[in-house]
């Protein structure tokens, strides 16, 4: 991957090959009602993964009756159309899933240990698939998303410190104006949610809604600069409602998809609202080639009632949003190999990671190019 400015997902500015994934899975039908399976998965995406092989999912799946099944183990949170299959590059025409809804840095946080009750029910000449889940929320301290959480509470620490300093008579020029974090770790707590997906009889339409709530406690240190102020903290994090609304329509060689994410959180008493959505239009040129265009918009912080984002203090306004226009070409070289070429025209910097961008470039518009090959056997 190569970006014209900023490091996005990895050290992409100037080009990087740190963008690899590999996985292997096993399934076994133990008897007519019981199935067990596991997948090992490793990836290298900048500082994420570093090619370590991890247990991605592992579960036992028991049929209770008819289509009703109970699954126990480690699984991906069933959210939207793509959460569960997000590692499977072969399923989609694009290299990156729309990052406004499926952020790669928080990918590991979307796995949980618990139970899923699932089944299907005929509805309106179609089929309604449902999944109800409950388990332990994954807030592993080595999950890359953990370090990015500072952006959600850093501004509050910064503003509070600035207010205290102003009250104490410290001139603004001597007050800190940037924040970072270190040693962040989360106390895992519970997650519960559901997903419903309705498919029309001829499979042309798919519509879904998924939602979860979860809680945790974030611990660590906030560093304010200049001045090297260290503030240890421990704050409750509550995801009150993380939801994805999904719709897909297939017509001949076209496929149109829309998904919208809404995330209402509360961190140490501060309400935060995150929003994102994307539209995607895919067209199959022939048996082996697919073209895709997507438009994706993301706001990490939304002001209630205003519907627009705000940038944390010390950052330019384009830190408050990210618009991504993507164009992809997928070529199935044979039954085992896929080649993908992808171009993104970006406006905004809301999804850039501070870890990868220690020196902030004030560049609103930037581009990115990706090439990916996948081998399946």
């Amino acid at each position: 991957m190569n970006s014209s400015a900023h490091n996005y997902l990895a050290e992409s500015n100037g080009g990087t090959y740190q963008f690899t994934e590999y996985g292997i899975n096993f399934m076994r039908q133990v008897n007519k009602d019981l199935r067990v399976g596991a997948q090992l998965f490793g990836r290298d995406l900048g500082d994420i993964g570093n090619s370590r092989l991890n247990l991605d999912w592992m579960y036992a799946d028991l049929r209770l009756s008819g289509s009703l099944r109970l699954r126990v183990g480690k699984m991906f949170t069933p959210m939207g159309f793509h959460s569960e299959g997000r590692d499977i590059d072969l399923l989609r025409s694009t290299v990156l899933l729309p990052q406004s809804v499926y952020f790669d840095t928080f990918r590991d946080n979307f796995a949980f240990n618990g139970v899923v009750l699932q089944g299907d029910q005929p509805l309106l000449e179609g089929l309604l698939d449902f999944k109800l889940f409950r388990g332990g929320f994954n807030m592993a301290d080595d999950a890359p998303g953990m370090q990015d959480l500072s952006r959600f509470f850093g501004p509050f620490f910064l503003q509070a410190t600035q207010a205290q300093m102003t009250q104490a008579g410290v001139p603004q020029a001597f007050q800190p104006n940037r924040y970072s974090s270190q040693n962040l770790w989360g106390k895992p707590t519970e997650i519960q949610g559901f997903r419903f997906v309705w498919s029309s009889a001829n499979q042309d339409w798919r519509m879904g809604y998924s939602e979860f709530s979860a809680g945790s406690e974030i611990n660590g240190e906030i560093l304010l600069s200049p001045g090297a102020i260290r503030l240890p903290f421990s704050a409750p994090l509550r995801i009150n409602k993380f939801s994805i609304l999904s719709a897909e329509y297939n017509w001949n060689r076209f496929k149109a998809t829309f998904e919208r994410l809404d995330n209402k959180m509360n961190l140490a008493g501060n309400s935060l609202i995150m929003e994102g959505y994307y539209h995607q239009l895919e067209y199959r040129l022939d048996e082996t080639k697919e073209l895709s265009f997507s438009y994706s918009q993301f706001y990490p912080f939304v002001e209630k009632g205003k519907g627009s984002g705000w940038a944390p203090p010390g950052f330019p306004d384009h830190r408050s949003y990210q618009t991504d226009r993507g164009l992809s070409l997928r070529v199935d070289l044979n039954n085992h190999a896929v080649l993908k070429l992808e171009y993104h025209w970006m406006n905004g910097t809301a999804q850039l990671r501070e870890v990868l961008n220690p020196i902030w470039q004030d560049q609103r518009n930037w581009e990115m190019f990706l090439i990916k090959t996948t081998i399946k056997f």
Binding site: N25, Q29, A38, W57
Partner: protein
């Protein structure tokens, strides 16, 4: 005008209930299977992994052809989707651990051999088979 409408409606109803031959796709099971016909939606549910047990008992051992015109015909006329979409559907099921892939066979002869040797199997071929141990199912629409 009233009678024309009545005749048309009877004709359409009859058409809907008549067994339809899907050109070049013959759905087959083991000769000992009690089935003689299968509804298209039922076939779709089986191939889309919505059903994995025969109503008369036993796990369905479904097989698919690895490509070719017969497979395309099955996908388009019976499953009502493009072969690519069907393939991706199964890739999703397999790689997310939600299903075990159907047995994948190269040719009609492999398919006939597989179905004749497995009593709970289900497959399809391009021509009416002459092989013993095989039964062709009538597909109801």
């Amino acid at each position: 005008m009233y009678w024309v409408k009545q005749i048309m409606s009877v004709f359409i109803t009859l058409c809907l209930y008549l067994p339809i031959n899907h050109a070049n796709v013959f759905v087959i099971v083991h000769a000992n299977s009690p089935l003689v016909e299968i509804h298209r939606n039922e076939l779709k549910r089986i191939y889309m992994n919505r059903r994995d047990q025969w109503k008369h008992g036993g796990a369905i051992q479904k097989a698919v052809l690895r490509g070719g015109d017969t497979h395309k015909e099955l996908c388009r006329t019976i499953l009502r989707q493009e072969p690519k979409r069907f393939e991706r559907y199964w890739v999703r099921l397999v790689f997310t651990g939600q299903g075990i892939a159907p047995v994948s066979l190269k040719s009609d002869s492999e398919m006939l051999k597989y179905v004749s040797e497995n009593k709970n199997s289900l497959g399809y071929v391009s021509a009416i088979p002459q092989t013993p141990g095989i039964k062709v199912l009538k597909i109801l629409d």
